[in-house]
């Protein structure tokens, strides 16, 4: 592994822009790293070396001409979750039904990355259509956790998180519907941010649950996440749920946080997210993080959000309901797989056979769950009721943010579990997202920042920081201050302690 892959995106960009190294050299270093370790990690579904090197060359040529860098991340490589459309690479969403599909248009996130000179290395693995918490629901096989290859990297964005943790990319983009950015980040020791709903365009993000889906950054440092957030965020007329307001000043907040204290900042510990079902080592790491925040001058208060106890069931009614409707588009007619079209079968029969062959078990379960929750006679008791619970969760957040500037909790109740451990028990799998779901239902900003290793199994723990809608910068400020204090106390960043994968892969 060359030194280049160990640098933060901010540092890489600085070196590229000062012409101390080139974007091509950096891109090649990452492509080499992918070649060395991805057979073991399997973070990528597709890599595009030629396209990446061409994009890097364009950045180098522009800098050579004396042009100013087109963005603060120009020339820095990135791994893109395979749920964003790309004209030059397949977009499969981890599903057989879209195997080899080449979209005819770029997602807004993809376009913004290209316009910012960010070098897209390839597309990362994910649970099929972002439904899952382990990446084991990918039709193309699971991704493995770089900290322990027998364990899951979380999900659905396990590929993006593993790519960043394994130094296969300094930056990645994920999507978070119930925790699919934050939970993988927590279990791989990376930083993952779910921006305020509407902060990042969903145009070209293949829809799972439209009122919850949100793209966001996955990185090794808080500042890198902020830099990427500013590249991909902002109003997009092509997404009518996109917020027509400036991106919150997240880069300034990350920089201020890293140098400053937290005097005067009120931090609320969510009392519902502790206790039974939480791994003791995770809770101890969380308590240490709380002490560290207090040492930084923050005022820590206890807040209660009783409706959060109902967030998980409400989510598993709302998300499947929206999914059953969104995934109706996969009918085998206009794109994707078609099965059983023998000239005698009807379109309806062909559609049923196509979906049977093209979707995996979790997607089928959720489609049927949503179909059930939306059916006549059950609608009020399930979907209608879940929407009302959603209102209660929003009210709990509003009340808590009266008492505290940000809220904190463990990101996920346990560290990374073993591959296969929860595949046959959907409910156990769903519990991975217990702490992350409320922020999806309420639409506010939330991130996960590494909080050291659990003392009972030596695996990464995530600290979740939640901020009000459009106050994403608050979460960044607190996370950056915490990250700086943690690194100083631990004698270096957590990611320095990832096992040597090249030795393992050999």
């Amino acid at each position: 592994m060359t030194g280049l892959t160990q640098l933060s995106a901010a540092e890489l960009a600085g070196r590229i822009h000062r012409r101390e190294t080139s974007a091509v050299e950096v891109t090649q270093a990452y492509l080499d790293r992918i070649g060395a370790v991805d057979t073991a990690v399997r973070a990528f579904l597709h890599t595009d070396a030629d396209g990446a090197l061409a994009a890097a060359t364009a950045v180098d040529q522009s800098l050579q001409r004396g042009d100013a860098p087109v963005s603060l991340l120009a020339g820095v490589p990135l791994a893109l979750k395979d749920v964003f459309t790309t004209v030059d690479m397949p977009t499969t969403c981890g599903s057989r039904i879209l195997q080899g599909w080449r979209p005819p248009y770029d997602a807004t996130v993809t376009r913004r990355l290209r316009e910012a000179g960010v070098v897209i290395l390839g597309k990362t693995n994910m649970d099929e259509f972002a439904m899952g918490s382990s990446t084991e629901n990918s039709a193309y096989g699971p991704t493995r956790n770089p900290w322990d290859l027998d364990r899951v990297p979380g999900g659905s964005g396990g590929g993006s998180a593993a790519a960043v943790a394994a130094f296969e990319a300094p930056l990645a983009v994920g999507t978070d519907t119930g925790g699919s950015i934050r939970q993988p980040s927590a279990v791989t020791g990376t930083v993952g941010v779910k921006p305020t709903y509407g902060g990042v365009s969903r145009y070209g993000l293949v829809a799972f649950s439209s009122s919850l889906d949100q793209g966001g950054p996955v990185t090794r440092t808080v500042l890198d996440a902020a830099l990427l957030h500013e590249v991909i965020g902002g109003h997009d007329p092509l997404d009518s749920t996109s917020i027509d307001a400036p991106v919150p000043p997240v880069v300034a907040a990350a920089r201020a946080g890293a140098t400053g204290e937290l005097a005067g900042v009120r931090i609320g510990v969510v009392s519902e997210f502790r206790g039974e079902g939480y791994q003791p080592g995770v809770l101890r790491a969380f308590e240490t993080a709380v002490d560290r925040l207090r040492d930084l001058g923050a005022a820590v208060v206890e807040v209660s959000c009783p409706a959060f106890d109902h967030a998980l069931p409400a989510y598993y009614l709302i998300a499947p309901s929206e999914c059953s409707s969104n995934l109706a588009r996969f009918d085998g007619m206009r794109y994707g797989l078609r099965c059983g079209d023998d000239g005698t079968r009807s379109a309806e029969e062909v559609m049923s056979l196509t979906r049977e062959a093209g979707f995996g078990p979790e997607v089928k379960r959720r489609i049927m769950l949503g179909t059930y929750a939306l059916s006549a006679g059950y609608y009020d008791a399930y979907y209608g009721q879940a929407q009302k619970v959603r209102t209660l969760i929003i009210r709990d957040f509003a009340a808590a943010f009266e008492q505290a500037d940000v809220l904190i909790s463990p990101t996920t109740p346990t560290t990374a579990f073993r591959l296969g451990e929860r595949v046959d028990d959907p409910l156990a799998m769903y519990l991975s997202d217990l702490c992350t779901i409320p922020s999806n239902l309420a639409g506010n900003a939330a991130l996960s920042v590494p909080a050291g290793l659990s003392d009972d199994d030596g695996l990464p723990v995530g600290l979740q920081v939640m901020a009000p809608a459009m106050a994403d910068d608050r979460a960044y400020r607190v996370a950056a201050a915490y990250e700086a204090a943690r690194d100083a106390a631990d004698g270096g960043p957590l990611w320095c302690r990832v096992p040597d994968l090249e030795a393992v892969s050999r």
Binding site: P313, A347, E349, E356, A386, R390, T391, I394, P426
Partner: protein, 98 residues
Amino acid sequence: MPTISRDEVAHLARLARLAVTEEELALFAGQLDVILTSVARVSEVAVEDIPPTSHAIGLEDVFRDDVPRPGLTQQQALSGAYATEDGRFRVPRILDES
């Protein structure tokens, strides 16, 4: 609360256009029952007078100026199709005669 029968799961699969197998029916019936029993807890929450939320941010109608902008070309729109004919999507018969 719910116990979902195999027949109900078969009905849901038909509604959802999923040609599930017999083995899947048995598996899904058990799993959906566990999941539904767990999520049914939402019905215990007292929510009289609570308005439903369909969208977290207050979503209002969004307008834009009525100016034409390019969409996909016919070739792009057809580029992912399983079968095309005369520049159109070719689909199986849409009427079931049985």
